[in-house]
């Protein structure tokens, strides 16, 4: 492997890891703060990707481009998340984990079939915006697509934004307090139900945004949600449940192991991630960063 290939694989790992982080961060938030095991989180990623596909002709007819699609998609995802929390998830907080698993599994089936009814079962490509469709040279022979850098940039920006919201704002303080003691926060006069709904909607929107920015690279296909779901659970668990920092580190780790595994050990690529998870959990049974 020469230097340029190595660099390209590093950039790919980074992009994949950061994308995983976006989906996993919502999962770990919903899990850590509300205590809900949300199997349907992968579906939100899938919904995002399909929105990028289905919305682009509509938005284009109003003269909007890819970025307008992103904007419209995020707004729709927030509304969807808000409505779902109100209709389904708000009943799950008091329930056992297994009941949550059952309901969110039901939601996966419903989302998959609605997708099949509305858009069909074909694989579709999504066009990337023209400004970002170029590539720049790397070494003498290789080039690297600008769009993949754009994905990484979006992810980093969102990660920074989340970090700032959590550590520097009043909202972040309330969220952190709410995850520690729901009743206490409520008795201090904070509307915890509304707070949860906002966090949930944000989690959905971030997952959907991840799906939307990934769509031009990965194309949209049936079952894309469930494959990303399992790998994101791996990320959440390795990082330590409820820990955003852990999720970031774990996502990057998985990104590098998976990408380099595919290059160096193609026969064993699929299994490497799980071997890694098993090893880490046997070494640290509570994940890398236990949220406190």
């Amino acid at each position: 492997m020469d230097l340029a290939t190595f660099l390209i694989q590093c950039l790919n790992s980074l992009q994949y890891g950061l994308l995983l982080f976006l989906v996993a961060s919502g999962l770990t938030l919903i899990f850590g703060i509300m205590g809900v095991i949300n199997l349907a989180h992968g579906s939100f990623y899938m919904i995002g990707a399909y929105m990028a596909f289905a919305l682009s002709p509509v938005v284009a007819s109003f003269g909007g481009g890819f970025f307008a699609v992103l904007g419209v998609g995020v707004v729709l995802a927030v509304l969807l998340g808000y409505a779902l929390e109100w209709a389904f998830y708000s009943y799950l907080y008091e329930r056992e984990h297994l009941q949550q698993v059952l309901m969110t599994y039901g939601l996966i089936l419903v989302f998959e079939e609605l997708r099949s009814l509305l858009v069909g079962d074909d694989v579709h490509g999504v066009a990337m915006p023209e400004i970002l469709s170029g590539s720049f040279p790397l070494g003498q022979m290789m080039t690297y697509p600008v769009y993949r850098l754009f994905i990484s940039a979006v992810c980093i920006a969102l990660a920074l934004g989340m970090y700032l919201v959590f550590t520097r704002t009043r909202l972040g303080m309330m969220i952190r307090a709410g995850s520690t003691n729901r009743e206490m926060v409520q008795s201090l006069g904070i509307d915890i139900k509304f707070l949860y709904r906002v966090v949930f909607a944000a989690g959905v929107a971030i997952a959907a945004l991840a799906g939307m920015v990934a769509a031009p690279v990965s194309s949209v296909y049936p079952g894309m949600g469930s494959s990303v779901l399992i790998i994101c659970f791996v990320v959440v668990v390795i990082g330590g449940i409820g820990s955003i920092r852990g999720a970031l580190l774990a996502a990057l780790l998985i990104g590098f192991v998976d990408t380099f595994g595919k290059v160096l050990l193609p026969q064993a690529a699929g299994v490497l991630v799980y071997v890694l998870m098993a090893l880490i959990l046997l070494w640290k049974p509570d994940g890398l960063f236990k949220a406190g």
């Binding site: 309901m103 419903v110 469930s226 791996v234 668990v237 799980y274």
Partner: protein, 334 residues
């Protein structure tokens, strides 16, 4: 209390009796479907021992099922039928061995971490059969000749396979029922309720959990064996996490903490699937059968918090509640 126990027993006996006479009225399709459902019921029972009996949520149960199925195919000789006498124990043993290894490592973790570690080990098994030529890769492999027991029992005949599967189901159910009443089963229940206290009472809980995990793996292997014999074909999908999820859904739907919940859940899941898949009822929409299944599952979470097993109790409470409210209203002068 006494009455309640006998009514539960009567329910289970009635179920088994109905299954025993079912082939008299059913066609080939029905027999095949119910055989498959009984295999799933055995599989669900194996998981119920862990989730309901011990409080360990395993998300990798399909690996043991798949190993049983693959062992049945790979250990069968190419040139003729194998004897059931050794093939069945061998398949169950292979699954139990993997369960022993997985359990020994993963029982160091707890809660959601345990769920994910069992998933990880199942995925490893999945990728081994998926990516290596050992078991035919993604295409899977065929079982050339189905096992026999001398001239007595030829599992190639659907009716005999039905009978054999039913016998296995009854045997597993009986075994687990006895197990739950034994000292060992009580210890498992104690671990489920409060592991800390069990340890304080002087129980070393780890060997108990490991034994439960291994037994569960063996039973899942038995179910996998029966599945391979029924279909005469195995592929990596038998080990996929979708399947581990589906069996978990079965026992939650039925009601955790009761052996008959696993039974009811497996049948309810299979029946719902067939119902929503039936083109006679839904026409072209039957292609989207998962929509109906998903909505039913969501409704069951909303309406039946204790699973299908809890339905009679819920009705009773509602009736009693109404009666007692009425009595209350009459007592208090308004």
């Amino acid at each position: 209390m006494k009455l309640q126990r006998s009514s539960k027993l009567a329910f289970v006996l009635a179920c088994f009796a109905a299954l025993a006479v079912y082939p008299l009225v059913a066609g080939n399709f029905g027999i095949d479907l119910v055989t498959k459902t009984m295999v799933f019921a055995i599989f669900a029972l194996s998981l119920e021992l862990l989730v309901g009996g011990t409080g360990l949520v395993c998300f990798g149960q399909a690996a043991f099922f798949g190993i049983g199925a693959y062992a049945a195919v790979l250990l069968s000789p190419q040139d003729g039928p194998a004897s059931l006498m050794w093939l069945l124990p061998a398949a169950a043993l292979a699954a139990a061995l993997y369960a022993l290894v997985v359990g020994a490592l993963s029982l160091r973790t707890k809660g959601v971490y345990f769920i994910m570690v069992t998933l990880a080990f199942a995925q490893m098994a999945y990728y081994v059969v998926h990516d290596t030529p050992l078991g035919g890769g993604t295409d899977g492999i065929y079982l050339t000749a189905k096992p026999v027991l001398g001239t007595l029992l030829d599992l190639d005949k659907p009716l005999l396979l039905y009978g054999f599967t039913l016998a296995a189901l009854v045997a597993v159910f009986g075994f687990l029922a006895l197990l739950s009443r034994s000292r060992f089963g009580r210890a498992l229940a104690g671990i489920r309720v409060n592991e800390q206290r069990m340890r304080a009472t002087g129980f070393d809980t780890y060997p108990y959990k490991l034994a439960a995990f291994t037994i569960s793996g063996a039973i899942a292997g038995l179910a996998g064996f029966l599945f391979a014999v029924k279909d005469g074909f195995v592929n990596p999908e038998l080990m996929s996490w979708h399947f581990s999820g589906a069996v978990l859904i079965m026992i939650i739907l039925g009601g955790i903490g009761h052996l008959r919940g696993a039974l009811i859940g497996a049948f309810a899941f299979a029946l719902l699937q067939e119902l929503f898949r039936s083109e006679a009822l839904f026409g072209g929409f039957a292609r989207h059968w998962q929509l109906g299944l998903g909505l039913t599952i969501i409704a069951s979470v909303a309406l039946l918090p204790r699973g299908l097993v809890g339905v009679p109790g819920q009705w009773k409470e509602r009736l009693l509640g109404r009666a007692s409210r009425r009595a209350e209203a009459e007592r208090v002068p308004s």
